[in-house]
Symmetry: C2
Subunit: 574 residues, 2 copies
């Protein structure tokens, strides 16, 4: 920006590039809505006042808001690349995100993060990044990478890297584990921000967690949890994603006094939910529906996340700020009519006015490295017929540790019993490492005549497959291997559906609408052809079966894991 | 700090260094006052909770607040060195200041700023600095230094330097003056903060000023002015100093919505006022007296200035924050019982528990470089007997541009008339430069039989002398030259009083109490021996006679200056 020419325009000695007339300007500093003319020059706000512009836009009474900021998001959860993600969320008013590329980092390490940095460069969606702090998530599984403090330090100087991503391993941090402290120190030494993730942690443990340098938390689920964090100086990021939805519970915890320390985020949101409900504009709408002052709600999506992450020039319509602007019809529906990024119109009527094909790099392609899987790989020898079973709970990531009596054949191999709802599940290391396969049993997924498989398996993203026969399980897994990852359904010895996710086995290189349509079809097949329990999301439930930090019983590529005891356990009860 | 040992103590596995029991903890994040135990380790807050400490302090119901922050102060106005200033303000609860060493910079340039950095290093008062942006203040006077953008850049990397000091030359900035823009760009390129000073500037001019990068203003005098700045994203620093007192007018402009963007400052406060009324604790007390919620008032002295200046770990009693702590008897008198700096008790019952003699450097000593002044130097030849006179207004820095008929002798030299209140004033360049002397006339100071002189003369700090006879004027000036600067009163051919200010001609190396007592004596002499107008502060009024940016008529070492026309004018009206 040429400072002189900007000042000349601000002072009214030169025409602005663009002015918006007859708009209702939302002022997140004062809580006011001002009817005035807003002027823009060189992609920045000049201010409001009696300006004239080269381009003059009559807003006819519409509202004009700063662009929305998602304070914490895993772009990978949209199943699309940063480019297609931008096309998806920018038309819904999101102009900036703080992303944690934790999923791709578990697959492709630093190169995965570099891919995200590169793919998001120059988009109409500004993407800032937090460096994933917990890769792998635990020592009880084999991921595609291990990122130490010194690995992360290599990316700490990148201009769009803001800090250290969510410190999910709060037990180790609170216990003072040296490897975790080294990562903390790496960030602290550089004056970087550190994101948190500490559900239910409280009192002295919470003091230790925050005192070590963690500044945000997006895992609050009650107003009490929220208050204990605000009191200790944390920013609370109120999350409304596809699975985890905390807004309704937390919104009453936002008071005039602590408002400044509250912001919105989505964390994980699938493409169909974004297409249907919106992105951060959905958080705003929900908050208003629940009785919040609209300018408060918009502040939580603009100024507050900007202050939290020290995003200079973002989050307000004030002189010198970036002209990231959202035009809203009203302050109830939060329907986004237009979006401007740094003064350029980039979306209108929920459609992007830009397109950008995915910029791929070798490091994130062909990441499903697994030998051809045979039906025999799923043979499950049982010493006894009383076994531990992962019982899926409806609409929850938590599972129950159940004990069941099952059927065995003459060779003591597990055998499906037509009247028992107990299915086989396998987690297969796919990063080209040990090639280990963990086998287990699942209740309450309910499927007949096939298998469902996924290369999205939090957080290590090994292959997960679940089925009632070994042939379909092998078929589904081999289909994923052939397509570089994705989601698959096999039925009656045939591939009944496949959504390829060739980028890290996590993301498609197709637009979100196509991904969403494919996914819908797959879900239909899972539910209608295979009869999967309707209270279970066939793929999302599968994707969390291998995450050994969510209670009670999980399966990794190394075996069955009792999360409560935090140790591996035998399948058979002896 | 050893992170491991801090976490161990926070989690309760090790004893804290110190705990405060039975205190009422002021929480500036939530507005609450919590009765709980506060624990400290390694100079930092561990948090509140069930802690035990090596040292246990029973607060018996006293309040415990974060240390106060002065968001904008010229330490030189206390007439003491940073060391003695610390002894003065720390016992009153101020543990951090953001200082603009603008006065010493006008005398000694970069070396003057380096002196302040060095003298303030390691004090129990943490001093951050803004680099003076306007040295000299104008082109119409000769100061001791000229600081360009590249000069300032030399100090930009110092750890306690936060940004560019108050941009007083707002007309040049708004006009786009290249030298001013260069300074702005220097700060912007380094991501530094920029302080403002823009009384009465509004609308598009204000947009230009703020859009260029200025982030604060401490010159608001009305709620409307305050609002126009808050709306545009500025922080408003509410000032309560010795002369400029804006708190009463502005405090009602602080609303729950904009509170976060309001902070307290003193700007310029003399030692006797600090001794009598207090420092930032006075701002807090006044705000509470005027009806503000005490926690709001404390927030404006703690968290808000910390956020404004991005002072990491300051301004709150939260885990990981610096243990800068003030113990208050109550939330009305704001009487400070104890002050802890980074966990160390540094003041009790308004007395410092530390002492530090002034660390002087050659660059700030012997700065009054002027030849011996003779009575004849003050001879004032007048072409006509109708002249321009600087009319002093009571309790104001603004002067009136008056036209008066005066007495001349046979040689057309100005002559005191016993019935006319018109006195001679002179400004003498004293930085070893041109040796220029500006001569003028003053009304409403009212003095008989002597002279008053000062080496404090904003902003160039040339010598200023005012009197009714040339002999006493010369005597007072030569006394200042001999003592390296200061304040002097001459009466009837004798030196009637002298307060030496050998550091830059601005500061004493004695404790504030002694300086204050000396000053009191001098003021007495000026008022009682010489009969100076009681509605005028003899020295402060003098000190602003040479500042050619405050209307209407001023005198610099280069002559009489019409501030309204912004040009030199003749003394005589022809």
């Amino acid at each position: 920006m040429d400072l002189k020419s900007f000042i000349d325009a601000a002072a009214g000695r030169k025409k602005a590039d663009m002015v918006f007339r007859n708009g209702k300007i939302i002022n997140v500093f004062t809580g006011e809505i001002l009817e005035n003319t807003l002027a823009i020059k060189d992609g920045k706000i000049l201010g409001y006042g009696a300006y004239e512009g080269e381009i003059e836009i009559d807003l006819k009474g519409s509202y004009i808001s700063p662009g929305f900021i998602d304070a914490h998001v895993h772009i990978e959860s949209s199943l699309t690349t940063p480019e297609h993600f931008a096309s998806l969320v920018v038309p819904r008013g999101t102009t900036t995100v703080v992303a944690d590329p934790h999923e791709i980092a578990n697959v492709a390490g630093l190169e995965g993060i570099r891919y995200m940095l590169n793919a998001s460069e120059g988009l109409p969606l500004e993407c800032f990044f937090m460096l994933p702090s917990c890769v792998p998530a635990t020592l009880f599984e084999n991921a595609g990478a291990k990122l130490s403090a010194s690995d992360l330090a290599q990316l700490a100087g990148e201009p769009r890297v803001l800090g250290l991503g969510e410190m999910m391993d709060y037990p180790s941090l609170i216990a003072g584990d040296p490897a975790v402290l080294e990562k903390m120190q790496m960030a602290l030494d550089r004056g970087m921000l550190i994101d948190g993730h500490a559900p239910m942690v409280d009192r002295k443990e919470l003091n230790a967690y925050i005192g070590a340098g963690v500044g945000t938390d997006h895992e609050c689920s009650t107003p009490e949890e929220m208050r204990s964090r605000l009191r200790r100086g944390m920013y609370v990021l109120i999350r409304e994603g596809s699975a985890a939805r905390n807004l309704k519970n937390l919104i009453n915890g936002v008071k005039s006094y602590n408002l400044r320390r509250c912001a919105f985020c989505t964390d994980d949101k699938q493409p169909e939910d974004i297409l249907k409900d919106g992105h951060i504009n959905y958080n705003i709408r929900e908050a208003i529906d629940l009785g919040m002052d609209p300018v408060w709600a918009i502040q939580m999506a603009t100024l507050n996340p900007s202050e939290c992450y020290n995003l200079k020039g973002k989050g307000a319509l004030a002189p010198g700020y970036d002209a990231d602007i959202v035009i809203l019809e009203d302050l109830k529906s939060i329907h986004v009519r237009q979006v401007y990024k740094k003064g350029v119109l980039v979306a209108e009527n929920e459609k992007p006015l830009f397109s950008q094909s995915s910029r791929l790099t070798e490091a994130v392609l062909n990441t499903v490295k697994v030998r051809t899987i045979k039906s025999e790989d799923f043979r499950l020898f049982l010493e006894t017929d009383v076994v531990r079973v992962i019982r899926i709970l409806p609409h929850s990531l938590v599972t129950e540790h159940a004990i069941r009596k099952v059927e065995r054949d003459e060779g003591n191999l597990f055998q499906i019993h037509p009247d028992l709802d107990i299915l086989k599940i396998a987690v297969i290391e796919r990063h080209g490492g040990k090639g280990t396969i963990g086998l287990g049993l699942v209740e309450n997924y309910r499927l007949r005549g096939g298998a469902v498989a996924s290369s999205i398996g939090h957080d290590s993203h090994n292959l997960i497959v679940l089925g009632d026969n070994d042939d379909d399980m092998a078929l589904a897994v081999n289909a994923l291997a052939a397509s570089g990852g994705g989601l698959a359904v096999a039925a009656g010895g045939k591939l009944a559906g496949l959504l390829p996710l060739p980028i890290g086995g996590l993301m498609s290189d197709l637009p979100a609408e196509e991904v969403s349509a494919s996914l819908k079809e797959l879900l239909n097949t899972a539910v209608h052809t295979l009869g999967v329990n309707k209270d279970v999301d066939p793929f999302m439930t599968l994707a969390f079966m291998a995450l050994p930090v969510i209670p009670e019983l999980k399966l990794t590529d190394e075996g069955l894991f009792d999360v409560t005891k935090f140790e591996f356990v035998d399948l058979c009860v002896k």
